[in-house]
């Protein structure tokens, strides 16, 4: 079973989604509590657990906490192997309580539109009064963006998605810039990284603006700029995203044997 609309771009030896999953996994430190989102982050967490973060604990919004990898590959968090042998099966509100109390270190969110301050839109393209496109909505994304200590955004890098201003803030980033989160009353957090199909961006601690810190192999800073809807700042020491190691690829293929999420 292969996901039809999976990214088709290929790089020798690994796929782009495999690179992105690897980058996501590297954002998790050992012993952290991770609120695992849908899709690629599922694999990112499994990869981190299987490599450098064996003590990480995974929290899933549907009511699952587990500190072991699932005994079989899963396509989604509700698959029974992800429930079997869990540490805790409970209510969404219990998971959200951990988050709201500030006990979740890092979380992952996908986005359809993002702006320079990391505000995310997964609800309405073209304004909510007469939307051109209705997207699925927040799910837990707004909660993760509001309440995790930090969150990582994973998304496709296109000019129509990286916009000066998003059409709708589903999941708050740094709002209008420094001090905004404090002003509206968000208790902590903010986006920490954006892992895209072209590179990795982080946020300036002072201006809260997105900065390109790493480009994927074969991608130039200019290419990234040309796919971004505002003048993008670039880190002085721009890095190249390290490709997945052989071990990382082995783990990804073990958990996504059909390549549904990451291709083959």
């Amino acid at each position: 079973m292969k996901k039809k609309d999976a990214f088709e771009t290929k790089t020798p030896g690994y796929t782009l989604p495999q690179l992105m999953v690897t980058a996501a996994a590297r954002e998790v430190f050992d012993h952290e509590t991770v609120f695992v989102g849908m899709r690629l982050p599922l694999l990112g967490f499994l990869l981190a657990k299987s490599t450098h973060a064996p003590h990480a604990v995974g929290v899933y919004e549907l009511g699952v906490v587990r500190d072991t990898v699932s005994p079989e590959p899963i396509l989604t968090m509700g698959d029974l192997p992800n429930l079997s042998g869990a540490s805790w099966l409970a209510d969404t509100i219990d998971m959200m309580g951990l988050l709201q109390k500030g006990l979740v270190d890092v979380s992952f969110i996908g986005g359809a539109q993002v702006d320079r301050f990391g505000n995310l839109n997964t609800s309405y393209i073209g304004g909510f009064r007469s939307p051109r496109t209705r997207l699925p909505g927040s799910g837990g994304a707004c909660d993760l963006a509001s309440l995790a200590k930090r969150h990582i955004i994973v998304m496709t890098h296109e000019k129509r998605r990286f916009k000066e201003k998003v059409d709708y803030i589903t999941s708050p980033g740094y709002g209008e810039g420094p001090g905004w989160r404090e002003r509206v009353g968000l208790p902590r957090g903010g986006p920490c990284a954006v892992i895209t199909t072209l590179g990795i961006l982080r946020f300036d601690p002072d201006s809260k603006e997105m900065i390109l810190v790493s480009v994927h192999p074969g991608v130039s800073a200019e290419t990234v700029q040309s796919h971004t809807g505002w003048p993008l700042k670039t880190a002085r020491n721009l890095a190249q995203t390290p490709p997945p190691t052989r071990e990382e690829l082995t783990v990804i293929r073990r958990f996504d044997p059909g390549g549904y999420w990451t291709g083959t």
Binding site: G63, G85, D91, T92, Q100, P131, P136, G137, D143
Partner: protein, 303 residues
């Protein structure tokens, strides 16, 4: 409790789901989705429903496609492993469907408020977000002790919660296991509860382990025996998730013709007396069956 609440699926939906009702479904998110009951609503051509649930893994889209829905209050409506829900998307774009946008946490708190019998619940989520612009049930208030701003979420009290469970007795007592999502809150918040159950068991099985009960029998209006009633979503202890069915639905639901074909294959035959298990077929049932059994260690409720 010594009168039975056991009804056929058709009786239960006719009696307890009225046109215009608000209906909570899919409360455990990706698992235990009450597809059988949803499909019955399609067959009975329910109208103007308000659907309530955290995320909807294609069930809400099916009801929108069948013309049953006037409003949705949810955090996410799509197809978890493929993306968009096409009927939902079209209906919003064509303005034939009203939406109140929630996050998973605001929806959980809205149902918790309904379950607890309080008019609102506070949460720290969604502050500064545009959910406030598309959901009048969110307002910012200050904590009377600390002064910090919080989001107040108005209570939701659905007319009916439809919940798929593993086992129930005929009096409404039931066991649910696995992740629970907002199942507990939805049942306790709602005026009526319809249970569809994989198995009907003796009352002693249920009262023999009362910690597994998420809603007491006296709050339940109807119990329906519905084997495979959660398919294609996974049901812990009974069957795995049928990924292919979600992918197939994605493809079918792109066009009205495709949807009609899907409905003709999966929904309508039940009116001709075929069981869902028959429609599914033996080979597919076996492919979804539990291969690795993991029974729990019993506990003792003696005295």
């Amino acid at each position: 409790m010594d009168f039975t609440k056991r009804l056929s699926l058709s009786e239960a939906v006719s009696r307890f789901v009225q046109d215009g009702d608000s209906v909570a479904m899919g409360c455990a998110q990706e698992t235990l989705i009450p597809f059988a009951a949803g499909h019955e609503m399609i067959r009975r051509q329910k109208k103007n429903l308000t659907l309530i649930g955290p995320i909807s893994d294609i069930l809400f889209d099916q009801l929108v496609g069948a013309g049953c829905v006037a409003e949705i209050r949810a955090a996410w409506i799509g197809n978890v492993i493929t993306g968009s829900a096409y009927h939902f998307r079209r209906a919003v774009e064509e303005k034939t469907l009203r939406i109140k946008d929630h996050s998973n946490l605001t929806l959980a708190m809205a149902l918790k408020a309904g379950a607890m019998g309080v008019p609102f619940m506070p949460t720290s989520t969604a502050l500064g977000s545009d959910l406030y612009r598309t959901n009048p049930d969110l307002k910012t208030v200050s904590c009377p002790f600390s002064g910090v701003p919080v989001t107040a979420v108005a209570a939701l009290t659905p007319d009916v919660a439809v919940v798929h469970v593993q086992r129930a007795d005929i009096f409404g007592n039931s066991h649910v296991w696995g992740n629970l999502g907002v199942t507990r809150e939805a049942c306790l918040a709602s005026r009526h509860v319809i249970l569809t159950a994989e198995e009907i068991v003796d009352t002693k099985v249920i009262t023999g382990d009362p910690n597994r009960v998420v809603v007491p029998g006296f709050r339940v209006s109807a119990v329906v025996h519905a084997p495979w009633g959660g398919h294609p979503s996974p049901v812990p202890g009974y069957y795995n998730r049928d990924h292919q069915a979600f992918i197939d639905y994605r493809n079918c639901s792109k066009t009205p013709e495709g949807f009609r074909a899907w409905r003709k294959e999966w929904v309508d035959p039940v009116d001709d007396g075929r069981t869902y298990a028959e429609i599914l077929g033996k080979a597919r049932r076996e492919s979804l069956a539990i291969k690795h059994r993991r029974p729990s260690v019993p506990v003792d409720y003696g005295y």
